[in-house]
Amino acid sequence: MKGNFIDNLPKVYGIYTGGFLAFIIIMSIAEQMGMTAKTIGICFVAFTVAIYAIIGYLSRTAQADAYYVAGRQVPTVFNGMATAADWMSGASFVAMAGGIYFKGYGYMALLVGWTGGYVLVASLLAPYLRKFGCYTVPDFIGTRYGGNLSRFMAVVVLTVASFTYVTAQINATGTIASVALDIPFQYAVYVGLVSILLCSMLGGMRGVTWTQVAQYIVLIIAYLLPVFWISNKMGAGFFPHFMLADEVSRIAELEAQFGFVKNSAENLKEVPKGLAGITKAHSAVNATPWAFISLALAMMMGTASLPHVMMRYFTTPSVKAARKSVGWSLFFIFLLYSSAPMLATLSKLSLIDPTLPTGIIGKSITEVQAIDWYQNWNQANLMFVSDFNGNGTLELNEFFMGGKAVVLATPEIAGLPYVISGLVAAGGMAAAMSTADGLILAIANAISHDVYYKIIDPKAETAKRLVVARVLLVVIGFAGATIAALEIQGILGSVIWAFDFAMSGLFFPLVLGVWWKRANKEGAVAGMFLGLVSGAAYLVWVRTGGSGFLGITQLTFGIFGSAVSLVAMVVVSLMTSAPNAATQKMVDEVRIPSGKSILGKQH
């Protein structure tokens, strides 16, 4: 697997994809022959995790540039796949279609935000940071602005944002592992953690890169196959993305027919926690322009500040490869994101249309309660019906579902074989693992490279640095798992907070570092510190009953944080002296793609 491994990549992953498809076929034959649903679930998760572990082992390395930036030789398209897996978390995979299903247009600001951010990454940052030749994001801040304080502040912002994010991901791996392997969540979290560490411990960025490509292939098959299958089975269209217009307008028709009846608070008390009913229009505009735009904007700026995404573009062979690679990343993300609304549409229509055999609205309550899949998902605490008005039939406002059920239960409702549910579990696991790996590595690398090597012990040997990096990886992983096991907050909420934290502290220090020569150390430190603190303060204020202003909510507090960061950075920079000639020259160098990188190959 060494030497011309890079040249053989298409072949290696081609064989891998073929093998995975063959595995799916074998499993469906086994299902026909009577293998139980539980065994199929275990096989899917165990088989895929074992493959990732093998890739992780084969990618082991003792070199700093392989460990930190995968030797800077990852080809454009493969880096795009790895970034897509890095990017699409358990939340994207399991919760996104559910969010669209329940909240419609207002929620779809996330789709626009989580894709539009890549335009900022490609045009403002990625190629320049690649030219810089840094190992980590704080490495750029520390070298561009100079001084240990700026480097340290960048590590702090990075850690706050990434750690908020990673607990959600470990939580997601734990949820899936506990369902698929049938073990209690508290233990499943650690099973998930060990799987995550198997990918990254030995090979660092190199191991994570090649497992993420493998994970992307699993997750995209696991997402698209059911969407196409369900659409064809329902007769909705051969290619759902282009053919669901009738279904979308049919949902609008049904919404008008049923109406959105508001339930009394008393009735809602009966509904199990975490479940929701359909209360918002599917395709109509149901949010104000500012609510939509502010959420999209926060997610876009957050995307451009999150270190686990940015560091993927440090691994390409050249600056122009970094630019193209951003395009490929977004293309691979687009494949999944554009399918989520289609899944939400199919799922909703199949449940609420009384003329379809799967439709339950308008049936009698006892009839619905007798359906097999209803009983299964009711037991899993993801579905609930209750006859509030006592008329014996199920109304739209009397049906409740958990957000995860849209992805997890729709295949079963549509009557697909169980093998698809096993596949979906493997896909969700791949999505959560790949993101967790990227994040844990981002934190551990920043602390080991920037705090330990650059600040504490600049004379440390490579071997010692890599030992520190690996120890930190394990420590941070366990800390994340321990917090995840406490189950403090929901998956999606903490993901959105991570974006807000990242943009509060890092967006302007990163962008102005390239685009404004006059930006100096004092300005950057002030920008990072005041941005993070004011963003966090705003969050606490709103969470503790504060009214907020300008329509900025707890989901978009980064808009306030980053505005403070920008003002602080500009004002403080202009009040203090301009950066020295060497720094100015460094910025000039960063702006042209040719020539040597600012930091050496080994640093």
Binding site: Y105, V112, V119, I293, K320, A321, R323, S338
Partner: protein, 86 residues
């Protein structure tokens, strides 16, 4: 003006153009979300709905590749492109 300054000037021009297009698809059209949704868009979906599911997302993908190609041309024009890889 030195070669390097000219190169940067052109790169900055491209950046502003890219950000302007980005602004239209990520922010501009959603200022008129409610009005636009009355119109039937591609494949028969309501127009704003289509932009949120496919249109804007696809536009971003195309925009990034377009930007990357234009920037490469600018780099070549001033002799700043990298050799020997990709």
């Amino acid at each position: 003006m030195s070669k390097q300054e000219q190169h940067w000037e052109k790169s900055r021009g491209l950046l502003f153009m890219t950000l302007a297009i980005w602004f239209v698809f990520s922010i501009g059209i959603f200022l008129f979300g409610a009005e636009m949704n009355e119109v039937t868009g591609p494949f028969g979906y309501p127009l704003t709905y289509w932009f949120t599911c496919q249109g804007s997302l696809g536009a971003f993908v195309i925009l990034i590749f377009w930007f990357a190609n234009r920037q490469e041309k600018i780099d070549e024009e001033f002799g700043f492109s990298e050799r020997g890889d990709d």
